[in-house]
């Protein structure tokens, strides 16, 4: 079986089309980065509101979050593209869908991190005459951000792989490009293309995780060596 599936000619086909796969990879990376950024810009304040916000604001954020987390990404994308048609650009639509879904998850990462900082820290900051906002901004948030790196790492990986769901509205990202290759060209090369595409996803995931590890080490709260 392996002899049928893993033929040199098919690997050559993958190699000959590396330019197309590279283009798809670029789209995947762009989509991941823009979605993660949108997720952070919306998700961090949302997490902060869930911890420090007024009752009304908190309830609103929580309800929107529950709907976004409880609805499959595929459905969110389809609603935004075919239902609301928020943009004629499939890329923009996918960014908003992935970004909002990610914001809902990121808000929980940051909520957990903010809540994990001991209440005494806030009290101590207030005792040295900081305002409540200053205390949160300068004492709680820097500690919380450090603690949110592991959860954020997870979220990054999830968004990276979920970009492939954008295939449904026809974005030429990595998986779509791969699929187009074996469907339109050398149909025997399906498994080889899947393996090549998986390898790219692995490299991307590995590289981001390692970079975030480094970042985490760099910003870690210094601890005693004894």
């Amino acid at each position: 079986m392996a002899a049928i599936l893993l033929q040199t000619a098919d690997w050559l086909f993958v190699a000959n089309n590396w330019g197309l796969l590279l283009g798809g990879t670029a789209v995947t990376i762009a989509l991941t980065v823009s979605s993660i950024l949108l997720g952070f810009v919306v998700g961090f304040p949302a997490g902060a509101i869930e911890v420090y916000g007024s009752d009304r604001a908190r309830r609103l954020v929580e309800q929107v979050g529950v709907v976004l987390r409880g609805t499959p990404l595929l459905v969110i994308i389809m609603i935004l593209y075919f239902g609301l048609s928020i943009s004629s650009s499939a890329f923009v639509t996918a960014t908003i869908a992935l970004g909002l879904r990610s914001a809902a998850y990121q808000s929980q990462i940051f909520r957990g991190a903010l809540q994990s900082v001991d209440d005494g820290q806030l009290e101590a900051a207030r005792a040295v005459a900081m305002s409540r906002f200053e205390a949160i901004r300068h004492v709680v948030v820097p500690q919380a951000l450090r603690r949110s790196v592991p959860g954020f790492q997870n979220e990054f990986t999830i968004v990276l792989k979920d970009t492939s769901i954008a295939i449904v509205i026809g974005i030429g990202e990595l998986l779509t490009t791969g699929q187009n290759l074996y469907e339109g060209g050398q149909s025997t090369a399906a498994l080889e293309i899947f393996l090549a595409v998986s390898l790219v996803y692995f490299v991307l995931t590995f590289a981001t995780n390692r970079s975030l590890d480094k970042l985490s080490d760099y910003y870690a709260v210094p601890e005693g060596t004894t």
Binding site: L20, F82, G83, I169, Q179, N180, Y182, E183
Partner: protein, 262 residues
């Protein structure tokens, strides 16, 4: 810090209900008013009707629709590539104006969208391994065999309506695939005995895989271009465009180019 869930199931459902209501209102507002330029939609991965080669969208449907639109007063602004199952929603919502995707005209689809006149007739090929000893010559010969098809295609309907319903094949013997390539792959892996796919698609696979068409099951299905329900003006323009390209020989050239002997 104790924290109770503030959103219960009922609130969640209310929120979802509100969203759906908003959407159905939004869906009523129709798309662009520009009637002269058209965006076409297709789903690559259906050789030789539409596929991507070297990053370019090519195929019989692509060239035929371009010729048909060129023969009308409309202009083609470009192609949108979507998944097959996304095409009808995209059409209904005005993301695309016309669909050319080897789409069989059937009653279910006819309720959702309108079709042009048929531009191609297809039947279903029953495909087996070239080296295998299994060579059925009618649907009855498939008794007890394992069968495969692409989800949502006419091949699947043949299996469900005429094999499983008739008791020729138990339901557990049917494997459904996301696309044709994987079905062919599994046929070669000997996980299924036969697959049922459109004749032109079978022919393009037979050319480069050790498989052969055992026999053809006549379904008499016909492909049409899809347009928004009620857009008679566009359907009429496509129909007269089809007549033009059939009369001037373009249609014959295209069938020779895409379905001719390899």
């Amino acid at each position: 810090m104790p924290r109770e869930a503030r959103v219960d199931r009922r609130r969640y459902l209310q929120a979802i209900g509100g969203t759906v209501a908003t959407l159905s209102v939004a869906g009523c507002q129709s798309g662009s008013g520009d009637s002269q330029t058209l965006t076409a939609g297709t789903a690559p991965g259906f050789p030789p009707f539409e596929m991507k080669q070297d990053g370019e969208l090519v195929g019989f449907d692509v060239e035929l629709l371009e010729a048909v639109i060129a023969a009308s007063e409309y202009e083609l602004s470009g192609w949108e590539e979507l998944e097959f199952k996304s095409l009808i929603p995209a059409l209904n919502n005005g993301n695309v104006d016309v669909v050319a995707a080897g789409m069989t005209i059937n009653d279910d689809r006819d309720e959702a969208i309108d079709f042009s006149d048929p531009y191609y007739s297809s039947n279903q090929a029953i495909v087996v391994r070239e080296s295998g000893s299994f060579s059925p010559s009618s649907l009855d010969d498939l008794s007890g065999a394992t069968v495969g098809a692409q989800k949502g295609t006419t091949g699947e309907s043949v299996i469900k309506d005429q094999l499983i319903e008739a008791g020729t094949v138990p339901e557990s013997n049917y494997n459904a695939y996301g696309n044709y390539v994987l079905a062919v792959e599994d046929l070669l892996n000997e996980n299924v005995d036969v697959i049922i796919i459109d004749v032109p698609v079978a022919n393009s696979f037979v050319a480069d895989r050790p498989i052969e068409s055992a026999f053809v099951h006549e379904t008499g299905e016909q492909f049409g271009f899809g347009v928004q329900s009620g857009n008679d003006e566009l359907a009429g323009a496509l129909n007269s465009g089809l007549t033009t390209v059939e009369d001037d020989g373009t249609y014959r050239d295209l069938t020779e180019k895409w379905f001719g002997q390899k």
